[in-house]
Amino acid sequence: MVYLNCAATSYRRPECVIAAVETALREFGSSGRGAHDSELDAARAIATCRERVAEVLGFGHPGRVVFGANATQGLNMAILGCVPDGGHVVATDWDHNSILRPLYRLRKRRGVRVDFAPADAAGRLDVDSLLSLVTPGTSLVCLTHASNLTGNVLPDAQITRVADRAHEVGAHVLLDCAQTAGARPVRMDALGVDLVAFTGHKALMGPQGTGGLAVAPGVTVEPVLCGGTGVLSFEESQPAAYPEHLEAGTLNGHGLAGLSAAAGWVLSTGLDAIHAHDLALTRRLVAGLRRLGPAATVYGDLPRDRIGLDAPDFDHAPVVSLNLDGWDSSELADALGHDYDIAVRAGGHCAPRMHRALGTEHTGAVRLSMGWFTGEKDVDYALRALSQLAEGDDAPAPEGTGEAPDAPAQA
């Protein structure tokens, strides 16, 4: 199997992640619910996880890294907890349904106004237009660090511009790092963003069911969920102190033990090294797709030639979406999966506004996405498969790799 659906979840995990989850399942008590070694072991593992995730995010306040089930939960915590009734939010066409649907709910039920900064037909975000939407009375600006459909990345300088403008009017900035946390440095503190949502199971390579929200000091987030925290049991309201303020109920200690090991592995491997690896694969994939000619429509803001791809300022998440002439995108995904054993993702990718911007609302697209355990041979195999499918070649399917022999070694 060649796995090119890393934007949905990582397929392989470092062995240390698997071992950490197994140990936690055998040995952990409940974090914050007792002082026996078994409970303290769980609490210590989660504390270590906060420190490592904070470092991955470039955030100097590990105690304000709040854990939940995924990035969606982190985004909901931020959006539902930061925006007052009748408030104003600015979001963008890049945003995933995990931002859009909470906003649509706020608009419908709590009179919140929502404005969207548009993307053009190449998926480029108009940041100047976005800045003009941020006005006195705006409570929150939602940004997506990298589009889960095109793979385009919002440059640091643009994020900082938005953060500066938002802070001028007293608004907070929420950055959705579902596609970037663990895949590149995020630099939350340096960017000046107030809230960063992350998931544990994609580039961070932790278990599914882990993720959350980093909340900068001074930012008020009302808890969506209330309940047990292991502290201040006689108080009627949720404790004000972080992280318990936003962590009602027993945490997924077993999963977070795995995420801690994964974040440690990412840090020891190096975020810059992971980014460079992903970028090289993206260049290879896009260059190969360009060789297919007009039969392949590749979406997003991408260089048209090898010179542009090789330029030092080329930046992109390891996510590429396309359609092939003559192919229904779902059928193409099925052919890749069923006939060539390549896992990809078709459909709407939970990104309806971006699909509308790209003009693919009614066709969908096939997304190929890569990660640390993707190798050059995987990319080449997918390119050969796409080439055959584009040309209607009756030759037998190319031999699968099934492995990523040039992928870096396990930790």
Binding site: D334, G337, A346, Q388
Partner: protein
């Protein structure tokens, strides 16, 4: 032209992944031929799974679905 040979299929669409998996489980139990595929764009460009089967299985599938899982629609397609 695509390399695949197209053939008539009856394709059942679902509003939830749970229903799609219920359908797969039921069909496997009862020997209804077919497999899960990404929902064809000609049905909807949204995400989701569909059950693709030979047209001759449609009747058995419909009987099987009754009371066991919800089907959003069954479409006659060339896939």
């Amino acid at each position: 032209m695509p390399r695949r040979r197209r053939e008539p299929r009856a394709v059942a669409a679902f509003d939830s992944t749970h229903d799609a998996l219920e359908a797969e489980s039921a069909c496997r139990q009862e020997g209804v031929e077919g497999r899960l595929i990404p929902t064809p764009v000609s049905i909807t460009a949204d995400c989701g799974l569909a059950w693709s089967m030979p047209p001759a299985e449609r009747g058995r599938f419909e009987v099987l679905a009754t009371g066991r899982f919800d089907v959003a629609g069954i479409y006659d397609l060339e896939l």
